[in-house]
Amino acid sequence: MSNIVKVGIAELDLVVPPDTIRTTGLGSCVGVILYDEIKKIAGLAHVMLPDSTLAKAASINIGKYADTAITSLYDMLIKRGAIKRNMKAKIAGGAQMFQFSSGSEMMRIGPRNVESVKSQLADLGIPIMASDVGGSSGRTIEFNPESTELSIKTVNMGTKIL
């Protein structure tokens, strides 16, 4: 019997087979999956903001920012036995949900999240095996650590597997 591990907004979690991991309603947020396909372990972070320097609060929620979420997800995976050189990533999200003529920085949050996630992964030397980013549709994603398949569901385009 396999379960689905659910990851909420600004949260992160790990999964091992036969379970799968899932996050719903990604808009401008980015879902980042890190996995070791040999050790069969994966983690998912639902990243909301590009950079923890944006934080104005005293204590920060590490799952919320691209920089802190990816490094802690990475550390969690290593701690659970994943090997650095096996580590790969798949990413989805970063949509522009609403189109505005006046493009303030806040309205560009989706693309900024994607840029930040990509540069964090590059810094860690983790290759991105598949990505489905941008556009203007919300996404629900589910990752299977056994097959390393990422299924992406959108309102207008059905489900696709990456």
Partner: protein
């Protein structure tokens, strides 16, 4: 913005803003449709991001939404959000009995445009009442429309607040059918930016202690 400083009186103030604002919007909707529209008592809650999407039936629930930014002395975000079925019903009423299928690309452009205009009119009345009540200078941005997952849409309004907190204060007012109270026609969500709360409370003479 310190949530611990917020007293019951402050929540009452926010509830009253929701009441006055949505009251005006309900009147505008009633005039547009030429039929009675009722609303529920606004709810004001300090809730986590995940709970917000639960208010509209879960993160994956598909909704029609008009979004606008409030610009001026107390910036924030406003959403007019309704279930697809209700959006189609609303457009059916507006177009004088013409069947609307929001999944159909051919009719959608016209429908979306109409929906955007309705959202614009209603949010405009909400915002005018909000501005008159608080004597704060507030203007709406040009509205944007989207039909998508509730979570994906609402998270767009959370970015300002998410830099300071993992919780948001949401002023939610639901429209209901006069005959059938359980049938929610739509929601108005007002999400002031973190720094705006102090300005709102101060303008009404109850600053945060």
């Amino acid at each position: 913005m310190d949530f611990t400083k917020i007293k019951p009186i402050h929540l009452d103030i926010l509830r009253e803003i929701g009441n006055i604002g949505a009251g005006h919007a309900a009147t505008a909707l009633s005039t547009l449709l030429n039929k009675a529209v009722d609303m529920k008592v606004p709810s004001v809650e300090v809730i986590s991001f995940d709970e917000i999407t639960e208010m509209v039936g879960g993160s994956e629930n598909i909704v029609a939404s008009v979004f606008l930014r409030i610009i001026g002395e107390a910036p924030g975000c406003m959403f007019f959000m309704l279930p697809i079925k209700q959006a189609e019903q609303l457009l059916f009423d507006i177009f004088g009995g013409q069947d609307i299928d929001l999944d159909d690309r051919f009719t959608s452009e016209m429908s979306l445009s109409a929906l955007q205009e309705i959202g614009n009119i209603l949010s405009g009345s909400y915002l005018t009442a909000f501005s008159d009540f608080t004597k704060l200078n507030l203007q709406p941005s040009v509205p944007a429309t989207s039909i998508d997952m509730a979570g994906a849409i609402l998270s767009f309004g959370l970015f300002e607040i998410s830099t300071v907190s993992d919780f948001a204060i949401v002023i939610d007012t639901a429209f209901v059918d006069m005959k059938n109270e359980d049938e929610v026609k739509g929601h108005f969500f007002l999400l002031p930016d973190p720094d705006s709360f102090e300005k709102i409370f101060k303008s009404l003479g109850v600053p945060l202690a």
